[in-house]
Amino acid sequence: MGRTSVSARVVENRPIAPGIYRMGIEAPWADGLVMPGQFCMLQAACPGSSDPLLKRPLSVHDAEDGVAWFLYRVVGKGTGLLARLVKGDMVAAVGPLGQPFPSLAGRRVVFVAGGMGVAPLPLLARRRRVMKVLLGARREEELAVLDVLDLPGIEVEIATEDGSVGHKGLVTDLLPPFLEGGVEAVFTCGPMPMMREVSRMCGARGTACWASLEAAMACGSGLCMGCAVRKAGGGYLHVCSDGPVVDAAVIAWG
């Protein structure tokens, strides 16, 4: 699958919205091998330090000319240390990992995103796997990343909870016309309650739905079985190796 564990050079790392950074690293797999929806485990290289101990999972945001891009929100220590890196610094990177969004060539696919769920979009757009994006936010400020997203040929419809931009309400309010209009699949990435609702709506109409899941992860490569998510029929699947992108129908959304 071409996955590697390397020390990679940072080519760019800069804030693009409050608390949100975009980082590019040199990656041997960044041209053809990586698929939309896959992720990497990343850690700012601090030789000899064991705090933080583990790498952090981030979706591949885009990939071109030997550079893999990530779009991340600074949450805690791991992402905080990543945010301090500058051009020329090294980052430890394991990837690309996990199951991608399916390739539904020529099909009508809608992507429902919330918050940092927009991260995998540019690579999906580059590979022409999505035609329409429905993006939800609480208020306008959260849409700042939209300005830097390079989404050629893709229409974006917006919903904000406070009505400051686009539809006033939840992003899932925008979905029914597409389900009724016969989209062939829905992709979703974002907060669990949003994905649960998208999955429920698709299930009710019999529309295929793929969700990109998150779970606390240690290795990202199927070694520890830590990133378990409950399956609909009982038992667990593992976000890092069975996902992060899974058929939403197999998940016990709770």
Partner: protein, 320 residues
């Protein structure tokens, strides 16, 4: 490496290993998941995820919590069960050329024996590592590894079914680990490995609830290393069988602490989760260290055997 050639091979209760660095159970999957990052022939052996007779689902999530220089896990011994391990994991793992050690678990001495019997017929398994940190259902859930009698019963039961190398993995959640080590030695163990994870807990102060769904979890990683080194040092001096040191090893320097304490081999656990190539780096680092200190054989590293330093001390301890 320099001009000097160093002998990295070690022997563990009849099992000859090319070097003393093993991959610890539960942190290298079934071995195969690591092959993109690590040539499994570079390590002394692969201890696969704990296998039970029947498949186990494991614990509800969240199962992981990172702590300062450590990791709490409550995987709950999820595994594919003996049959699927034998049919769909072991053949591919053996094909890599790896030395395979199978970690086993059970809820009763009989279950441990049954799985040993089932694995006996499979070719290519070099050794069993018996995880006795599991709850003994017949004794109200007290772990076998916390009671010398229960631990000895498990080892005796497995010993009857298993003629090859038998390693017993000890729990650190006891007052005196040497008491358990002596009990399993007397019951027929060829070697002991320690430590398994230390029981711990983390609380999410904003949500005001335990982080792990299981409330408690096992602590691993560099945070536990001093505890592990101490327990290995004590155990080396309490039993005659070889001791495998485990706990927070992330570099050759860390591994050397255990080898100097008298461990015959080491296992790398959590470090592999953080860096899948860690074990190979550690093998190289030990070779480099030995060349630098003009030590020709890794089996002669223990303090007490290093020329000019506490010569014979290890022997004296053992005679006590």
């Amino acid at each position: 490496m320099g001009a000097m050639s160093v002998d990295m091979s070690v022997e563990l209760g009849g099992l000859k290993l090319s070097n003393p660095v093993l991959l610890a159970s539960g942190t290298c999957g079934y071995g195969l998941e690591l092959t993109p990052f690590l040539d499994l022939r570079r390590v002394g052996g692969v201890v696969v995820k704990g296998i039970s007779l029947e498949p186990r689902d494991g614990n509800p999530p969240p199962r992981l919590a990172e702590t300062p220089c450590g990791l709490l896990n409550s995987i709950g011994l999820e595994n594919v069960g003996a049959e699927r391990f034998l049919s769909s994991r072991l053949p591919q793992l053996l094909a890599t050329g790896a030395t395979v050690i199978v970690n086993i678990l059970g809820s009763s001495a009989e279950e441990y024996a049954a799985i040993a019997a089932r694995l006996r017929d499979a070719e290519g398994i070099s050794a069993l590592e018996v995880n006795i940190s599991c709850p003994n259902v017949k004794a109200g859930g007290v772990a076998f590894g916390q009671d010398p009698r229960a631990a000895a019963q498990v080892v005796e039961a497995v010993r009857k079914e298993w003629g090859r190398t038998l390693i017993v993995k000890l729990s650190p959640n006891v007052t005196d680990v040497t008491e358990i080590a002596r009990a399993v030695e007397a019951a027929g163990a060829d070697a002991v490995s320690l430590i398994n994870t230390l029981l711990g807990m983390a609380i999410d102060v904003e949500q005001r609830r335990p982080v792990l769904a299981n409330t408690f979890g096992g602590l691993s990683g560099p945070a536990i290393r001093p505890v592990a080194v101490r327990m290995v040092w004590q155990t080396v001096r309490a039993v005659k069988i070889p001791v495998i040191g485990i706990g927070g090893i992330a570099s050759a320097r860390d591994a050397l602490e255990f080898l100097l304490a008298g461990a015959s081999a080491v296992q790398v656990g959590t470090a592999t989760l953080a860096d899948p190539g860690a074990a190979a780096r550690i093998v190289e680092g030990i070779e480099e260290y030995m060349a630098r200190h003009s030590i020709t054989s890794v089996s002669g590293l223990a303090i007490g055997q290093v020329p000019g330093r506490r010569a014979g001390a290890r022997f004296v301890w053992r005679l006590q």
